[in-house]
Point group: C2
Chain length 158, copies 2
DNA sequence: CAATCAGGTTTAATAATGCAACCAGACTGG
DNA sequence: CCAGTCTGGTTGCATTATTAAACCTGATTG
């Protein structure tokens, strides 16, 4: 089998997250959802992807608890896709992606929006990692520690 | 043409970031690189991906300025792949992905590591978004503002 | 009741992925 | 210095995934 090597059983949390929404379109769907898109057609015209792909992506995102379908909202008997709490939790990842592009993109002048505080319209601060006692941490200041009670991911023994 | 719809010309910074390292393996390669992997073979055994895929991924990551090749380091006349500053800038994204899994994964007991402050071994704080005057912001507290001097991404006119 | 639209599914083409085999240059041992 | 082996790939081919376009169904509009 040449299957697409699912990372679901991996013990790395980064791989596990990518397994849930790490493909090309899913994050963009989530981005649009967090910007207010709700209807199939809205996503489709915004993203310009094929309808079958959108349909499967929406379905798996619903299955995985990122999106949920709610019945109506504007009267018509259709469904809408809105983010669950689990889906809203992806927001920091979107912000991190955005800020990376703002800092490192080769052509930053092609970026047409920036993220601002709704209250006063000022740009938000850059995401930063802090220690428990408030020191700013870079990658080199951190390390990975094995979890004590890490239940091994199931592996076929033989 | 049924090409893979590159997002490079998109004006959304999230899409632009995904275009650079948003595929299945690239982020995992970057993760391993930030954990100390340097050699082709290290990446291959760590990730378990096909060598041809690894070769093309490493090549494009170098082309895009995420990784750079440095000559030797252990004497032998081979090359090593290390993160550039642009690549190290991806670290917050990895942290955000990790923290999402820690918070929302269905089987958090299968996660075997957690990120700690190297200085005292304590877990790091959760990434959080702040306004310029220090208020904690959720997605709903933010909005997108068009950039004044947004040079339009080139589009074929007709 | 014909037309249209939202929200998909099906079909057939093309592109990407995965595995295994192959290959070249650097090292190793005798 | 010659065979064997390791690193770091490339090449070929089978399997998947992605895509555009056609089609379909139920709801709404005229």
């Amino acid at each position: 089998m040449v299957k697409r090597t699912s990372l679901a059983g991996d013990s790395c949390p980064i791989a596990r997250a990518l397994d849930v929404f790490g493909d090309w379109w899913s994050l963009l769907i989530i981005r649009d959802a967090s910007l207010g898109c709700r209807r199939f057609g809205e996503f489709q015209t915004s993203l310009g992807l094929a309808k079958n792909i959108l349909a499967t992506r929406l379905r798996t995102l619903v299955e995985r608890g990122i999106l949920k379908m709610i019945p109506a909202s504007d009267g018509s008997a259709y469904q809408e896709y809105v983010l669950s709490p689990k889906g809203r939790g992806i927001f920091p990842i979107l912000v991190a992606l955005r800020q990376w592009s703002e800092e490192f993109d080769e052509h930053p002048n092609e970026i047409d929006t920036f993220l601002v505080d709704r209250e006063n319209g000022k740009p938000v601060q850059k995401l930063a990692l802090y220690s428990q006692d408030g020191r700013l941490l870079s990658a080199a200041d951190t390390t990975l520690k094995p979890r004590a009670a890490a239940k091994r991911a199931r592996r076929v023994p033989a």
